[in-house]
Subunit: 290 residues, 2 copies
Amino acid sequence: MTYYQRAVIVGTGLLGGSIGLALRRLKLAAHVVGVGSRQSTLQAALDRGAVDSIELDYLRACQAADLVVICTPVQLVVGYIRQALAAGLTGEALITDVGSTKASICSSVPPECHSRFCGSHPMAGSDKSGVGHATAHLFVDRKAIITPVAQTSTQCTLRCEQFWQRLGCNTIRMSPQDHDQAVARISHLPHLIASALAAGTQSSLLPLASTGWSDTTRVAAGDVELWRQIVAENRIAILAALQDFSSSLQQWVQAIDGNDQERLVQLLALGRQQRLAVETPEAGRKANSG
Amino acid sequence: MTYYQRAVIVGTGLLGGSIGLALRRLKLAAHVVGVGSRQSTLQAALDRGAVDSIELDYLRACQAADLVVICTPVQLVVGYIRQALAAGLTGEALITDVGSTKASICSSVPPECHSRFCGSHPMAGSDKSGVGHATAHLFVDRKAIITPVAQTSTQCTLRCEQFWQRLGCNTIRMSPQDHDQAVARISHLPHLIASALAAGTQSSLLPLASTGWSDTTRVAAGDVELWRQIVAENRIAILAALQDFSSSLQQWVQAIDGNDQERLVQLLALGRQQRLAVETPEAGRKANSG
């Protein structure tokens, strides 16, 4: 069913491209416009079938749009929200974003925005970036966190939830602050641990790397500037998560140092149990099949 | 080409099963016998086509064998080596193992063993265990570390290298001690970091886990007893690796705490560069296609 007449996607990488593919494959949108600053990136999205048309001029793209999804690095999101408001959206248009931090964005949106913008964050991704790895089913059965603030209109919040549900997500509402605390631990911490492990490995040992090293460091291949911005926006929560992890690591050091095998088995078993409790998102693996 | 008349594989899980599949598919062995203590595990290996026959009696299995590959948890390896010597192997038989620690094993083998046994460790695996995930191409283009000691005969070392090369590995020689130091950092550390991250995550956050958490903790699903033994055998080197990682993590904490974005970008870029320098072993992913 076609819910959107003109959907605008800003930033046509993995997430934006996957949203475009889903909107088109599921025929949720009559027309999907891809917007960005680089012609080559936009052309790749068009070639991939992720958008119906491409546009370098954001204001022109937003004219008569009823859906704007901002998939840029987090520090650019607020600027795009402000511009969209001035661009002639339809009366019932929804603006949302996919940023991995929410408090800074949601507290910076202009007051006139609260009937149009509701922040969100789909818990889906891949260690691979770019529209070449986009897939229409990236969001299926994944969680999308919806982060309205007190001033966000109920209608706008509902529209945002519906949008993600139509792409296959299960939605959860959280305050932007609670979101940032949660993702600091479930998303930002693992990324930094993976990066620290990769960065800390002696280069001479890399030829010996096997599954353990490769899996554990996989996401360290992510875009540096994207992650610089995420850390900058969620610094305090990330710092707390890192310090808690460092403390918990000392329990392992103590168990091993003291040859306390019983304690080590408890720790290993807890890690195993928690890992097995999580369904592996296979979307990233199958990215090219989308 | 058939190099082995009777190959014995002790422990028919992921590694043993994959060796069996490779020996049979490539017709490297005329007959592959699977040995283990559990009938159901052996039957699964037979059903999978990883072995030609199965045997609960290890001594009987080894009679007239010219290849014995011990794929058990590390603390059982030496016992199986001792028994094999008494079991009537052929004159040119090779005994090797796939254990993830080598110093303890290689220093415990009886003197009469040095013309028969050479330790080895293929740097290949999967977060999945069991013969159901075994694949004939698990070892293709992977490194196998060969760990002769001073007393190991040259012939025996060469036989061991040939064995792994026939399965598709590139072989490297190291002393057992150097091996244990290296794998403490490239294999054991990532496993424990993955486990610590999984164990340290609040259960309430697990429903929000996405690619970052799932990839970074993937290997924490590994067998607890297997890893207890590995840590016990390589305790000192693992402890040093954990402590070095803890120290390097403090560089990240300091950069983030001090809002030193330039330093953070350096660290993220180094992690990304090192990660991209490593070819992802896809064997585990494709395990069922084998």
